[in-house]
Each structure stands twice: as C-alpha cells, then as structure tokens.
Amino acid sequence: MRMTFHVFKKESRDILRDKRVLRMAFIMPIFLVAMMMSLFGFLTTAISKTHGQIVYVVKTKNPAEKLIVQKPFEVVEIPDVSTGRKLIREGKAHIVLSYGEMKPDGQTVIDAYVDPKEQTSQIALAMVSKLYDVHNKKKLETLLEENRLPLSSEEVYKVRQQDVSVGEQAGASDILIGILPYLIVMYAFYGGMSIAADMIAGEKEKNTLETLLISPAHRTNIVLGKFLALATVCLISSLSCFLGLVLVAAVKPPGTAEMMKGGFGVTPMAFFVTMIVLMPLVAFFASALVAISSFARNSREAQTYLTQFSFVIILPAMFSQFIGYTDMGHSQWINFIPVLNAANNIRMALMGRVDMTSLAITIGVSLVIALIALRITVKLFNKEEVLVRV
C-alpha cells in the first residue's frame, strides 16, 4: 500500500505539471459549462423574444392587419406574394402574411408563408398564430355575451394544469437537467483521457517504464498507483463542471439569468448522489484507460484506441440528454446499462428525485464493472508480452 501511494504521489505531481491536462481536464469543463449556460440562456431569451420580430405583409386594406401593426412586431409592407416568396427563399424573411378578403360571415383567411425547415420561421408563425388566437377568443367571448350564453361554452372541455411536487423543491432548470449529467459523465472520461496515453504507453515510448520495472516495487503496486492518480483526475475533471456552475452563478455572464432564475439549481442531495454515482464510474473509466495505455505500444497507438473507446462512452452519455423525452428514465432496466445509468441517476437527482433502488442498482453495476476492469488492468500490466511489446 505504501508503494502504491508512493507511485500515486509521483503520478499526481507529474499530471499537475502537465499544462495539457490542466487545460483539458480542469479548465475546459469549467469553461464549457459556463459557455453552454450562456449559449442556452441566450437562445432561450431569443426564442421567447417578441419585440422586433419582423413580419412581412402583402399590402392590404383588410383591418385584420391592424392587429399585427399594434402588437410589438415590426411590420414591413411588400407589394405581392411573389416578392414575399423571394424574400423567404433568400433567407431575408421568416414569415410573410397575405390577408384575404373578409367573407360575409366575417372570417378572414390569412395565408402565412414560411420555410417549414427554418426554425425561426416556425417561431414567428407560432407568435402570429398566438396573437390571432387571443383575438379570436375575445371575439368569441363578446359573441357569447351578446347572446347571453355562458362564457364556459367557449371551452366545453377545459384542461387545467395542476402541478404535483415530486422530490425536492429546489431543482435545476430543464436545460441544466439535460446537459449537466452528460457533461459530468463525459468529463469523467475525457478528463482522464488527456493523460492516459502518456501514463504507460508514453513511458514505454520514452523508455522510462523499464526503470520502474527494474525497481523492487511490485508491478501491481505500480499500476494501482497510476490507476489511483488517473481516477483522481477523472473525478476532479468531472466535478469541475460544478465549479463551472458556481462560476456562472457568481459572475452571471450575459444570458444566464434565464437559466438560473430558480437559483443555483444543484441541491446538496443532488451533489451527494452525483458523488456516489461517480466514484465507481471513474474507477471503471480509469481502469479502462490504464488498460488501453498498457496495451498500446506507444502514445499514438494509445490515442487511437482511446478515441475509438470514447465512442462507447459518449453514446450512452449523449442519450442521457434525451432520455427525458421518453419513459425510459423511470424504467428499472436502464440502471443496468453502464454509463447511461449513472447519467440518468444524476439527472433524476438534479430534478430533485432520488430513487434508492435505482441508485443501489447503478452503484452496484458500476462497481462490478469497475472491479472487473481493474482486475483485467492489473493482469495486463503483469503480462510480459503486453508490457514489453514495442
């Protein structure tokens, strides 16, 4: 144990002096979280923005146009529909409205020309539709009143949202719940990946490994020391994402107000769950990274293997971002899928929901995989054919 700690101390010092690791594993996640929060905050604000939306309107005398003019849209008149179509094709207009003649029954059909593939067009269309929906509703209410009919006739079936509080009250925002588990899991792997190739394959290449192997230290102690150092980097890198959040909460960069209107968003319970889910996960990642580095002949070969392996990690981690759109997030079987189970449990914890059974299965599964991976890694490092192949 003393020897393992001795190797761990040396590896940790070596890692901390590597500027690439400092950038990739510690600074990058902080920067990335801050940047994503700003970006998503900016996008959310932009999507909900009505002021200054430009609406192109084919010249008309229909009074329905006045509604658009009165509202906070910027209206630009154009001579005909073909001009509007041209503007849309050129990407200069999001929406063009053409008002038909008012029918004897009072209805006016408004043709809204949009590019269905363009999201900004869809947003503009939704805003215009909402505006006329409100007007239609008012008109209907007036008619009902005039005919002495109850206003409830307007909505025979009224759906009313009733919020049921589940778990802790102080949860994170929707976007944070979507991206944070992914970033936490991703950096638990990528943080370590930045140094893994150097750790053993790099030592083979630089011929420093032999000096280690001819020391009386047992090979198992050496590899465990390296594993512990790498696992520490993986864990710190992953937790740096939280540091990014703290930074955003403290500095409040532009656009992030929307994202943090409910406060910091990460409760002590969510942080605790993240920590206990991360521990076995980083053990698995660090073992796998050390095993790959042991197997590779040199850093370059190690990088190639690591990049390929990263896809195995990134896919389930990415899926965790979209799991909220399905029922799978609540299924027990998801807790048996490595990586995805950890991300999903972190996601649930951020939502303020902690299910002890899910948590226990996730930790158990990750722990078993980590132990298997560590055993393979130790075996590999003790294998002469693997270690001295050049």
Binding site: M3, H6, V7, K10, R13, D14, R17, D18, K206, N207, T208, E210, T211, L212, L213, I214, S215, P216, A217, H218, E384, E385, V388
Partner: protein, 252 residues
Amino acid sequence: MVRTSELKKHFKDPKTGIKKAVDGVTFEAHPGRILGLLGVNGAGKTTTLRMLSTIIKPTSGIAEVGGYDVLKEPERVRASIGFMSTSTALYGRMTPKELIEYFGGLYGLEGGHLRERIAYVREKLQLGEFEDRLCDKLSTGQKQRVNIARTILHDPPVLFFDEPTVGLDVVSSQSVMEFIEEARTNGKTVIFSTHIMSEVERLCDEIVVVHDGMAKGQGTVATLLESTGQPTLEKAFLAMVGFQSTYAGRAS
C-alpha cells in the same frame, strides 16, 4: 555474482513462428570484475540483460543475480541491481532531486538512510547546480549524471550497463566509463553490454561474444585473440561470428 546457465528466451513471432532472441547463453560475472557482452545490434545482449533484470522471464535455463533466482525471487533480484542505458529517459516534468527521491522510495530507502544516500549521489555526481531544474531542461551530460545517480542510489552490488555510451559525446562517454571503472574498484559485479571494441578493450576483464542469441566465445581479450589467431579484437570478433563480406569488390 551473476550466473546464467543455458539461458534461453524465445518469442512468438507471427511471421516466423518462434524467434530465438537468446538461445542458450552461459556465463558467470564476479564481484570486482567487469564482464562484457559483445555483439552486434540484435545479437541478444539486451534481451539477456532484460532477463537478468526480471523485466522478462526466461523461456528456460537458469539465471541468478546476487544469489537470487530471477524467477523465484524477482523482487530481491531487482533490489540487488542497478540498470543503466543511454536510451533510458528521465521523467521530464520532475527535477533531478524529486526523481532521485522517487526512486529512493521505490527501492525501499527511507528516513535518514535515504537522506544519506541522496547526499552521497548529489555530491558524487555534482547534481547540486541543476537539481531543482526540470529534467526536460537538462543537457545530455546532466541527464546522464542523473541517470547514474538513479542507478547507484540504493548501492546495488550488481550493475548492468546496456550500451551506456551510445549517442554520447567523448566527454560524457568518458565520465560514464570512469564511473564503471570505479564501480569495479568498489567491488561491484558489472555486466557491460556494447558493440564498441575500444570500450571492451579498456573496461572488460572478461568478454562473452554473443551472436544470434548464442555465446560464440568467452575469455579475456588476450585469450580471444589467441584462440582466433587474429591481431585485433575487432578481427577476432568477426572471426567468431563468422563474418563474410558482402562487399562485391572484396569478394571477387
């Protein structure tokens, strides 16, 4: 003392089936003497030293270092040896001071004994002037001094040198050779692997000529010259390895 008997190392080769890197090498090296392993590149010298250092395991045969069997007591073997080669690098992001402390720990040195040994190698190799600089920033000669310090820090009774002067300039090579001579004077068992004849003539008390993984001859420089009837060690070596010129002009 180092002893090998019919030491073999065969590797699996996907193309040729089995590659016999070392195929039955027998020799003995004694305290206070330098045994030279002389051979061309790929002759099997480094593989022999790797087996003696327990980095790789012999396929068959016996290898003992300092009285310990390399297969049965590898940790004790490793505690008894110092290994140096020009290709052995240092950790670039560590200072010589940190590196030596690190290896001291790996060799089980601690407390006062470790401080005493560090002070000795520091003084002996004059590391003080650059001991706090990162190894990446050191000159080749300075790196070599750190390498020597690492090799002798735990005061091993057996020293292995695998082509320790390759790539070094005259001055640095001279320092390494002086260090090896001093090790002999101090009663260390030294095995020196090289393909440079002048170094063998200067340093070695006994020579084992290794070629194609086998020992082709063994003895002092004088006995090798006598047995081959050649005037120089170089010619004696070529005769022992069965050298035939591939230069067309000479052959005709």
